[in-house]
């Protein structure tokens, strides 16, 4: 693509297209975002990408807002806005038309089948997301341990996940990680 000269166009193209392929939501799209931002366009380093993942999990709102962070680092406030709209717009439009269509046709069988078929795909994608971020963030045994403990706690208890993020941040701050 010759869009390197115009970063805004590159953002629109990258995230607009990704929007329509993001099966299973924002966290499933992490590998593709990583591929686009780090490997293809070299907008971010590995470390920056992991940081932005961390910030997006820390801040309120839908997790898709990691694209706001990526957009900002590419082209400032305009980039943040453009990336967010590009990532949310096409799929929102699609959702609007599909829901109107289904309201009229009332055949609820196909959504159920497609949804059931997409479940294993989105789980596989999310697992890949975890692996890709972990390869950057979990560089020491203690880091791996933090990940495992956070996973176990979030899986087995009802503790608010925000506490685990803050605990991870504190350990990092203290220089343990």
């Amino acid at each position: 693509m010759s869009s390197e000269s115009n970063p805004i166009a590159a953002l629109v193209w990258t995230f607009g297209l990704m929007s329509l392929f993001a099966v299973g939501g924002a966290n499933s799209a992490i590998p593709e975002m990583h591929r686009a931002a780090v490997e293809v366009h070299h907008w971010l380093t590995e470390k920056q990408f992991a940081d932005m993942f961390a910030i997006s999990q820390l801040s309120p709102g839908p997790n898709v807002l990691i694209v706001t962070l990526i957009g900002y680092s590419v082209a400032g406030v305009a980039g943040a806005l453009v990336a967010t709209v590009a990532m949310c717009g096409p799929t929102a439009l699609l959702a609007y038309y599909v829901s109107r269509f289904l309201d009229r046709s009332r055949d609820a069988r196909w959504p159920a089948i497609i949804q059931a078929a997409l479940v294993p795909l989105s789980i596989g994608l999310m697992a890949a997301s975890g692996l890709i971020v972990a390869q950057t963030s979990d560089q020491s045994w203690i880091a791996v341990l933090i990940t495992i403990v956070a996973a176990a706690l979030a899986f087995a208890t009802r503790i608010n996940p925000l506490w685990m993020l803050l605990a991870g941040g504190l350990l990092g701050f203290a220089g343990v990680v």
Binding site: R35, P60, P62, T68, Y72, A92, P120, I123, M126
Partner: protein, 203 residues
């Protein structure tokens, strides 16, 4: 960077009991979605359900499940789809836009501020270390979601589902193939096996 405290915690339950027939207006849609979005750390869905079903009574639990199922099977961020579908059901396109703007607008402003702070101070060592720690925990949370979602497949002994899951994981996570190519193969394959499996159950 020290994480900013949430602007508003749990929305206070409204004293005036909402009637099920109550149709939310545009501003009401915007504010409701803004509030659930800002309260939603690591996922807005829980708050969306609480607000739409329990607090406002705009939908029954069943209607909410159906709407969410639809939004889950469509591509893109589920909760964003939900806001548009939900808002437009009450107030047409304007309603969809109002709910969407409420959901994405305010947290986007926060994210932009955080991004600006990161661009400016991201190189400071303390901040780098702190964020690295947060990232470790965040990855753990992601793996927990993966495990939780896998449990039904494991309980059902859904072998084809688990094979497809692993294949996607290897193709995207290890080999790093582009998403579009993997989906182009995996989506039809998965739909075909799902249809086949349902036929076999019926037969």
């Amino acid at each position: 960077m020290p994480p900013e405290s949430p602007p508003a915690a749990a929305p206070a339950p409204d004293a005036s009991a909402p009637s099920p027939a109550h149709q939310p207006g545009l501003l009401e849609l915007f504010l409701a979605f803004a509030r659930m979005s800002l309260a939603g750390f690591g996922g807005v869905l829980v708050w969306a359900r609480r607000s739409i079903v329990e607090q406002h009574g705009w939908m029954t639990a069943e209607e909410f499940n159906e709407t969410f199922a639809l939004c889950h099977f469509l591509p893109g961020p589920n909760i964003v789809n939900l806001s548009v579908v939900f808002g437009s059901r009450f107030r047409g396109i304007a309603g969809g836009l109002a709910a969407f703007a409420g959901l994405v607008g305010p947290p986007m402003v926060i994210a932009t501020i955080l991004a600006a702070l990161y661009a400016r101070y991201g190189d400071i060592d303390v901040l780098r270390r702190t964020l690295a720690g947060v990232a470790c925990a965040a990855v753990g949370l992601l793996f927990a979601v993966v495990l939780k979602m896998m449990m039904p497949l494991l309980k059902r002994r859904d072998v084809t589902g688990l094979v497809i899951l692993s294949a996607v994981f290897v193709a995207i996570g290890l080999i790093r193939w582009p998403l579009q190519i993997v989906l182009l193969v995996a989506v039809p394959l998965s739909i075909a096996t799902t249809v086949l499996a349902r036929r076999m159950v019926k037969a």
